[in-house]
Subunit: 501 residues, 2 copies
Amino acid sequence: VPVSDLPARVGLLGGGVIGGGWAARFLINGVDVCLFDPDPAAPRKLEAMLANARHAYARLTLAPVPTPGVLSFAASPEEAAEGADLVQESAPERLELKRSLLAAASRAAAAQTVFCSSTSGLRPTALASTMTHPERFLVGHPFNPVYLLPLVELCGGRETDPDAVARAEATYRAVGMHPLRLRAEIDGFVADRLLEALWREALWLVRDDVATVAEIDDAIRYAAGVRWAVMGTFLTYRIAGGEAGMRHFMAQFGPTLQAPWTKLVDVPELTDELLEKIVAQSDDQAAGRTVGELERERDESLIAVLHALRSRGVGAGATLAGWERGLMRARGDGALAGADGAPPDTSPLRSDVREIPDAWLDYNHHVHESRYLQLCGDATDALLIRVGVDADYLQARGSYYTVETHLSHLGQLRGGDRAQVLTQILDCDAKRLHLFHTVERSDDGRVVATAEQMLVHVDAATQRVAPATAAVHARIAALAAQHAALARPERAGRRISVARP
Amino acid sequence: VPVSDLPARVGLLGGGVIGGGWAARFLINGVDVCLFDPDPAAPRKLEAMLANARHAYARLTLAPVPTPGVLSFAASPEEAAEGADLVQESAPERLELKRSLLAAASRAAAAQTVFCSSTSGLRPTALASTMTHPERFLVGHPFNPVYLLPLVELCGGRETDPDAVARAEATYRAVGMHPLRLRAEIDGFVADRLLEALWREALWLVRDDVATVAEIDDAIRYAAGVRWAVMGTFLTYRIAGGEAGMRHFMAQFGPTLQAPWTKLVDVPELTDELLEKIVAQSDDQAAGRTVGELERERDESLIAVLHALRSRGVGAGATLAGWERGLMRARGDGALAGADGAPPDTSPLRSDVREIPDAWLDYNHHVHESRYLQLCGDATDALLIRVGVDADYLQARGSYYTVETHLSHLGQLRGGDRAQVLTQILDCDAKRLHLFHTVERSDDGRVVATAEQMLVHVDAATQRVAPATAAVHARIAALAAQHAALARPERAGRRISVARP
């Protein structure tokens, strides 16, 4: 992700569930946001959404996210659009309302400002009709929660300039999204057509008392939902067809299309009775959890699934990994500049404060012992990036490998605790790096673990121990010289034994 | 999961993608399977499916799965049904074919044998009509891959005895599934009605060139699919409605149901042209990957998602965790019986051989250093379960906590390697346990890491160091006495330093 695709400033029209999600995604990526929403409660709701998003990103990624952008509120759509590189409209789904917001904002914006609408179904040609410079307008349709789900559907109208689509696409990619360009302008675009079809069928099933809303949700999340996180419907069915492939599948299951499942091809009437039934069943399903609680639960689980997909390089996980690589590259440069330019610092290096995810708990609700080493190993990685062992170095020159670790457990972390690792260089030479990590619980400053580590530098080509490059060694040696002023940790050099009285 | 709900033997009618998946799930859970399939290629196809499933389970779980059941082939449906506790029919979706298989098998089975059909749409009353004892028949509709996805829809017919449904439900739970009882007998049940609605809409989008099959799949897996692994459609929309809840959501989005998205309410005709288009686009999407390769990719990703859901106790992950707890409990008893009854063994304890999942690789394709400690920590857990520190003990009495670890890296594991941990007790007293683990790559027997560990026993009530129960200490001391005959590991008692010439 070239950093230059990041806009400096975006204007947002509407700060509800979708607009707030956009605000969070842009701010976390370091973009300034100016938001217009006539609702007096908008700032309060937005703050709650941003808190959710910040909490989520602390768990989502260890990549060095930039300094957050600055949030400001505009008194009018014109003010939100002034000076913006991109204006994103996320007002309620009423054509006239959206049209008037877009028209007003487009008069105030520079001619090159790209305009996007978050509409989930209205056509771009209709939305753009009263705008100044309608050729820079397109639909950029995201999915809730916008700060976690990467899909954004791009759909231009009759007048849309392909350059506007390309610029919107680059911007969305720069903030970690997966843009999908549509080939035709239709109501509902692609994803919502699919979701709406499933939703209508679900309403029939509730109406006919075949299943409750909770049972219908279970029918999805215990089977097809797990598959759909991984593969869409066509690839799934291709596999179901066996080695004979898609043609065989279509031959086998095509006739089902003509089966008399009549409810599929009609629309249920939303009577008061059906509405009451859905509301009552939904209340049962929520079992007293507020929407805020459900949001947190949803986000935690989405993050766990995104991590799972990232580990496989699949779909939304691949998008996340690409965004992180871009941040690592950006930070690699920045960290080096800082290390070279900053005044000497004789305190240990401090990692970012990190929140312990519940995913690290074992069946007994303890943080697995290996996770303390993971915290320290990640602190080692941060040190290595700081001295120039970045992605390019790893590929071209080599890396440091841990050969020995002595880990001491002095307390316990629990899920939700925040922790920080302090790293001190004890010793080094051209090939070796001797470190001491101290894991502190941030809330009370208590040391919960220490890890002493020895690393050796291994050449990328020969895979044998070999000296680091002069530049890397010089940076390590400079840090080590600063750290020589620190006291040697009491637990350094320990060995294990059962002391017998 | 009471072990008694596990059937001793099941009969399977049909060994295709679904029947083979059933075979794998039952065999892996220790159930004998007798399969009838007239296709001469059935044994070969089944072996490939079983290989996939065994591979998948090696990554899916560390729980002690039982000794696999025995697979045999029957020459007739009658032979498959003889002596079976459950008969599961998974023949092609043709009513007359299924009817004749069920009728023949039901004549040969004992009267109390439960019969289930894997049909994805045919009604149970119609299927049972020619059976002997139709009251013990119901639909048990699973999802591909049957050995990984937990959902099974249960739907009885007019004559079905509730006791048969209850017994089928208990059996499915015992093999790690999530049964969903339907409230009415309808074509397509619940899940397939939903999937079919989405599928029909997807066919329209392809037909009208709005998107290719790959783009439609992306429209699912980059957004709604990730959500659907976590929450179904109703709970998702409840959240989208904000604090005002479901009523607000319905008021806001209900009108969309009447929008002129006409394609939603009609069925596309499966012309040759549409068929060719889908086949060609699907070939593009597969990009040369065979169905076998796609299956492996799918399974690996499904496992990663299941693990993610397990970490959150959500949906299909909660089902997996429940099944594992049942196995741990069953093994806890068995392991103890073995330890008490078996002859003394003076070799180190050997963990199960474990395959290194790709999820353990970092961005640089190395196994993260903390994972070596995880392997050793898990070996410690296995030792503790063996000496009686099981789930009940943890809750009532206490546990051992690691206070210190000295880890040495002597080689590298790669994704897909198989590894085993050898554990030797170096020393112990009533409160302390001093262990030495050796991590061996199974393929070449090479030692890739060692870990020396000190653990202390902590009382559950006081959370302070306290002696273990006499029974646990006696078992540890007995093992330690056997291990006293082993050589002391060379790397025991090491400390870290940069040796200077």
